[in-house]
Amino acid sequence: MKRYELIIIGAGPAGLSAAIEAASNGMQVIVFDENERPGGQLFKQIHKFFGSKEHKAKERGFRIGEKLLKEAEDLGVEVQLKAAVMGIFDDKEISVMLDGRVEHYRANNIVIATGASEKMLPFPGWTLPGVIGAGAAQTMMNLHGLKPGARVLMVGSGNVGLVVGYQLLQAGCKLEAVIDAAPRVGGYGVHAAKLARTGVPFYMSHTIKEADGDSCVKGAAILAVDSSWQPIPGSEKYLEVDTICMAVGLSPMSQLARTAHCEMENNPLKGGLVSICNKYGETSTPGVYAVGDVAGIEEASSAMIQGKIAGAAISFDKGYISEAEFTTRYEEYQNSLMQLREGMFGHKDKDSADTEHTEEGYTLSQSLLSKGYMEAEEIGEYPGIYPAEYRSKGVFPVIECSQNIPCNPCQDACKRGCIKVSGKITNLPSVDTSVECTACGMCVVSCPGQAIFLVDETLAPGYASVAIPYEFYPLPEPGSKGLALDRSGTSLGEAEVLKVQSSKAMDETAVLTMKVPVEWSMQARFFQVY
């Protein structure tokens, strides 16, 4: 039986990061993954990541995947794909299904990084073809270049539902609505705002009553629920859709950890059944670690750090790094992890979170939470909004960032220091009115939430320019006309495209500048091609 120093199950962000850490310390590592492509969910994630530079913020998930892979390869990590691990047996032995054969491997240490699986919501008709998981939609669109359907209903307003909803738009599908039984949008407000301004309606406090169709989905009946989740009679709406996409949460894929007899706990904060781990990720089965979503549902950026921590702990345990070295690295990684767990979406009891105010005391937009977009009148008070009295100077940035999300690429993007995230990484960015904006557009393309716009109210008498991030195909031509939409996706009227900037540094986020009547300058946030 082939023996490795370290076997990692799952080539996603957590597994690859653990492999890179251990291999960089000199360990011999093999990674198994059942998929055809490595990277776990990263290759399906085409949006830019949140976080700070060290968390690979503002990079797109699939590019992070490519980098991790290259790094792992350069370090001599073996990555065995299309290799489904069938079980973990005594003495850290695993059996793997490879090319129609079963192979056995043994290791001194095992890292389980199998990720998560989607929770599903049963409703009448949920077995009809056309009802799919959000992950299935992502797989079809972003790995295989196939639209899952023409008209889609998204069930669930968490980050997965919002992000996949946006990807559906990018793939050319029509997103008919996002619904959620909860009264508030579950994911980042900025993700919701991206959808809302293209005209996608949000039905909060709505649940799916049934999927309609005989042989496959041809529609969905939804209805409103009251505060105790009871259906409200007469509130039914019918949506003509061919695809119903479920994004109602993730749960850790803990099957393999259980075959390894790891002690488990049911932890709602971690998304379900997880193995009980120490601070380095080691389970109750000595030498077997669990990292990433399988150890508790979080973002990919947290998973990567957890992977590094386990990789370092194993390297230390097996004599590849000194205790001092390990302590230093552990503290560094732990700090980085704690940063990501900060904020209102962080790794803590959501029930106790304040839904009225940010940590700094700004009022949270209730409209954002209930409709997916901020009302124009709610915008004023946030520190990223350029005060009216300075707007006559020329171009200024408008940062519509109103929630405590651990993220700060905007600050790094502005070479002139106009944007600052002071204090905690979750603090809202503020604009410095004393610095002149050069309209380079880098803040616009760096914001993973696409919440930064450049406005110039001095464009021409009665006209303003509004520069928006734009990630759709085809890119409109300068001079072409279309509709300016406000945050709710409502048409304000005609707008003209002044210019479309796109460069390698912008990483496929174009900056589209449109000319609009000056009174729309703080309203127009999307451009719709005629």
Binding site: G87, F89, D90, V102, H104, H261
Partner: protein
């Protein structure tokens, strides 16, 4: 706490069956199970309901159960226990195998069992899917199989409806003695009083009996089983082999359930939680495909393992303990308890209530073991 009429330790097929037959005699037992209903061997066996190749002492129990209880059990309990009486084939590939079968057959016939050796052609007629390597088989047309997990739960359900009490997740640790007789049991959470305690807890019965100085000569052995996805119906018989390398059947659902051993079991892990070993499922599969090549495309969806409570002479202990009135043993089934469970349940219930079961249990006494010389 109110004194219980009878306490049964163990919520497997034996414990649940005893509780049911006691309830039929208007005795409401308390069953205490440390895990969940059917956790032990009852959810870890091949489901054979057979008389062939039984020890002569056990055969009367098996014949009685098959003649009088199994055919109507589903109706009686109100749950389909998937009993299928389409015969048992014990397959042979070599002359050596045939010799083994001949011995078994002679013994069965002498006890009045319809059991015979059939040749390759007849095996094919009964079961067309056997490989060319199969040259003969023993055939017992009145044997069959059932679903052990459902049977256990069906006994439990019916007994519960008839007034038996069940507690799961509580572990019996010792037997209490009051004035020279059984007085009840002590668990990890408390004590329960009763004049009658029946130990039907598989291998765990040994440690509990030890607390009152009674030893049961048994060992635990790991066995493993596997189940496939649903397959087209191929054969209804219970299958075994003269070489004893696997056993199993196709279930009513269409999936195949097979069990077997590698020979390495006695040297396995000391962990109490039974684990599957990486070598076992492949070994069982090789054995099966040697006899039934046509089912190679069936997908294994699950493997599992469990402990057998193997008695020194491979026959269970079904007995009152004379020197400690109130203690009854029903354990050490050695891997063939399921098929006889209805007869055992009925007999133990009668033994406890009136000391005089319809079927004699004399051959299963706890004090039958003697040194060699």
């Amino acid at each position: 706490m109110q004194k219980k009429e009878v306490i049964i330790v163990g919520g497997g097929v034996i414990g649940c069956a005893i509780a049911y037959y006691l309830a039929r005699l208007n005795v409401k037992a308390l069953v205490i199970e440390s895990e969940e209903i059917g956790h032990g061997g009852s959810s870890r066996n091949g489901g054979g309901v057979r008389q062939s190749a039984r020890d002569p002492r056990e055969l009367p129990l098996a014949m009685h159960a098959i003649r009088y209880i199994w055919p109507d059990l589903s109706d009686e309990l109100g749950v389909d226990v998937e009993y299928c009486q389409e015969g048992n084939l014990r397959l042979a590939k070599t002359e050596e195998h045939i010799k083994i079968l001949e011995r078994v057959i002679a013994q069965g016939i002498s006890l009045g069992l319809d059991l015979r050796l059939i040749d390759q052609q007849e095996v094919r007629e009964i079961c067309p899917y056997v490989s060319d390597e199969v040259i003969a088989a023993s055939y017992c047309p009145t044997d069959g199989h059932g679903n052990p997990m459902v049977t256990t739960l069906a006994y439990y359900k019916r007994a519960r409806e008839m007034g038996a009490e069940f507690i799961t997740g509580e572990m019996v640790q010792s037997i209490l003695i009051r004035k020279g007789k059984v007085g009840g049991i002590k668990t990890n959470l408390g004590t329960y009083e009763s004049d009658q305690v029946i130990l039907a807890a598989g291998y765990e019965s040994r440690a509990i009996a030890n607390t009152v100085g009674i030893d049961i000569p048994m060992q635990r052995t790991l066995v493993e089983a596997l189940v496939t996805d649903q397959q087209p119906y191929m054969f209804p018989q219970m299958i075994g082999t003269a070489a004893s390398d696997f056993y199993g059947h196709q279930t009513k659902h269409g999936s195949f359930v097979f069990g077997g051993m590698t020979g390495m079991e006695p040297y396995g892990s000391e962990v109490d939680n039974p684990i599957t070993r990486s070598i076992t499922a492949p070994s069982i599969c090789r054995a099966i495909l040697g006899y039934f090549p046509a089912i190679g495309q069936a997908n294994i969806v699950r493997t599992w393992s469990g402990w057998l409570d193997v008695c020194a002479d491979h026959v269970p202990i079904l007995s009152k303990v004379d020197e400690l009135p109130g203690l009854t043993l029903a354990c050490a089934f050695s891997g063939h308890g399921y098929g006889i469970a209805p007869a055992v349940g009925q007999s133990i219930a009668e033994l406890v209530i009136n000391g005089n079961p319809t079927l004699s249990l004399d051959a299963f006494r706890y004090d039958r073991f003697q040194p060699k010389s």
